[in-house]
């Protein structure tokens, strides 16, 4: 088993968990954590792959690295905005869930 495959499989696992939590959970903070884990999984697939594409000097492919840094910044920006919205929603309704996800 190569390094790329091992971490690639971890990436798939993270994608699966994160996607499920982002879509299925009720608590909005949990859904956001799910989105972030999903993102981590996608990035992991990408970086793990970069180790397969080494150049003559043995350095991995830098393009996925740069793209993942972009992805991390985008994901954190979006998370920050979502958290700000979540705090306002909670302040207004006293609940950290969307109306359709409330029980009873």
């Amino acid at each position: 088993m190569s390094l790329a495959l091992l971490y690639g499989l971890v990436g798939v696992g993270l994608v699966a968990m994160g996607l499920y939590a982002a879509l299925a959970a009720r608590h909005l903070l949990r859904r956001l954590l799910g989105f972030n884990v999903l993102g981590a999984g996608v990035f992991m697939l990408f970086i793990a792959h970069a180790t397969r594409a080494v150049d003559a000097a043995g350095r991995p492919d830098p393009v996925p690295h740069a793209l993942v840094i972009t992805g991390i910044v985008v994901a954190v920006s979006a998370t920050a905005l979502a958290l700000a919205l979540l705090r306002r929603l909670h302040a207004r309704h006293g609940r950290p869930t969307l109306p359709e996800d409330r029980e009873g």
């Binding site: 982002a22 879509l23 996608v42 990408f46 792959h49 594409a53 393009v63 905005l81 207004r92 969307l98």
Partner: protein, 477 residues
């Protein structure tokens, strides 16, 4: 100014306007906005002419040719979308000038970033760069929705979460493509992609992510609350342009990148099925609404369904392609006009209950006319753009012996007529329920009317041969 410079100007100008919007004094915001929007319309027209005359344009940013760098590419489809974007944008910005008084800086700054993001999306020829533009569009839309106040927070958050998951699914597909081919350039990938598991997975995740963002049934749940709660000019931008951006990418992917896959036919038929379901579900929901803005928002769900419904016809050639483009433009113009009208009504009466619209025809004749023209175009009655679009699509459906699509097209149009004309009937037949204080001035009423009329005027000016020549540039064979 050659075509490459026009393209760069279209990319940079809205971003520059966003920067200026954060720095200039508040009273200059609107004028700056109008100036740049007018300039963009001129540039977009010029660019369309250049593309129609000289063919597709490509610019490698920073002088780095793909696959290492990012190429901007524009064909007829891109130029046409830029044109639609600028015309609708100009109308909505003019309306915002009167709607947000005193000016709200966040509207202009976020609005310009959103506009720039749409341009960047229509021009981008790189699958990862498209991901960044998608996120930019999504976050811009959220920032604009929350301008509607604390009542919009739940809708904005629902939209943000689903949009984020949608773009992450898209990115997953991009990663799979890179894993397989080591390339991100849209054009190069088009020649590299071979039928197989990896391509299918990439196609499935990217399309699913985009359908989520385009609110294609049954992934539409986020749209009606968000579009109904946002301030009217924002709703107009979102319904007319933002959902189209994701749909544009679906068309781009399935006519280029994945068009040669054996699964393409099945996938497009599946999309058509979803579209038909959306057309009827959205239509029925729109009929059941008691307020104007949610009704128009559900109508967007239905109209997006209509656009998805006719996608399989694209494999059959130019007639359907031209018809779809006309329909896209007609919907963008009409839908933005309808939302602007709803905003006027809300300003005038303090509510938008359909039952309380008696006498609108007398009290707000300009707005009622705008609503009427826009509704007629959406329904598809002659001589509007919507009519010509649907006519061409019907012709294509019959020529390609797709009776189900033709039938759904006609039935969907009847349903559209049912829900759109109901408020109008009330407005013209019933007597005024009460005398409303006049607050909605000309500045608020005219933009909607102009947008609605643009759907008629555009046909006089551009339809026929010049438009077909533009759309033929880069049309999938």
């Amino acid at each position: 100014m050659n075509a490459e410079s026009t393209l760069l100007a279209l990319l940079v100008l809205p971003l520059l306007a966003a920067v200026l919007s954060l720095l200039v004094g508040r009273r200059w915001l609107g004028w700056l906005g109008m100036l740049v929007a007018l300039l963009l319309v001129v540039l977009a027209v010029r660019f369309a002419l250049q593309v129609a005359a000289g063919g597709a344009v490509a610019v490698a940013i920073g002088g780095w040719a793909p696959p290492l760098g990012i190429a901007l590419r524009a064909d007829g489809l891109s130029a046409f979308m830029l044109l639609v974007q600028s015309v609708v944008g100009l109308g909505v910005h003019a309306y915002a000038l009167a709607y947000f008084a005193p000016a709200r800086r966040a509207f202009w700054a976020a609005g310009w970033l959103l506009w720039g993001a749409c341009h960047a999306l229509y021009l981008s020829g790189d699958v990862f760069n498209l991901y960044v533009t998608l996120e930019l569009v999504g976050l811009g839309a959220v920032a604009l929705v929350v301008l509607g106040g604390s009542g919009t927070v739940a809708a904005a958050l629902r939209y943000l979460l689903l949009a984020l998951v949608g773009s992450m699914l898209y990115l997953l597909g991009v990663v799979v493509l890179y894993l397989e081919h080591g390339n991100l350039d849209l054009q190069a990938l088009g020649t590299l992609v071979q039928p197989g598991l990896a391509s299918s997975v990439a196609a499935a995740t990217m399309t699913l992510g985009l359908l989520l963002k385009a609110a294609v049934f049954p992934l539409h749940v986020w749209l009606p609350p968000a579009h109904a709660a946002a301030p009217a000019p924002v709703s107009a931008l979102l319904s007319a342009l933002v959902v189209k951006a994701a749909l544009y990418l679906v068309v781009r992917l399935w006519t280029g990148l994945f068009g040669e896959l054996p699964a393409a036919g099945v996938a497009l038929s599946l999309l058509a099925g979803l579209g038909a379901a959306a057309l009827f579900w959205g239509g029925v929901q729109a009929l059941l609404q008691t307020r104007l803005k949610p009704m128009i928002a559900y109508s967007t769900v239905a109209q997006i369904g209509l656009l998805a419904l006719v996608l399989p016809l694209l494999q059959g050639g130019a007639v359907a392609w031209n018809g779809l483009m006309l329909l896209v433009a007609a919907h963008a113009l009409a839908k933005s006009a309808l939302f602007l009208c709803a905003g006027v009504v809300q300003r005038q009466y303090g509510h938008d209950r359909i039952a309380g619209l008696g006498g609108v025809g007398m009290q707000l004749p300009l707005t009622a006319t705008a609503y009427f023209v826009a509704a007629v175009s959406l329904v598809g009655l002659p001589p509007t753009m919507g009519f010509f679009g649907k006519y061409l699509l019907l012709e294509a459906a019959i020529a390609q012996s797709r009776p189900m699509i033709a039938a759904a097209l006609v039935l969907g149009s009847l349903l559209t007529a049912a829900y759109l004309l109901r408020p109008l009937a009330l407005g013209f037949t019933e007597a005024a329920t009460r005398q409303a204080p006049r607050t909605a001035g000309l500045g608020l009423q005219l933009p909607g009317l102009l947008l609605a009329l643009a759907a008629l005027l555009a046909l006089l000016v551009g339809a026929g041969t010049p438009l077909w020549r533009l759309l033929a540039v880069g049309m999938p064979a």
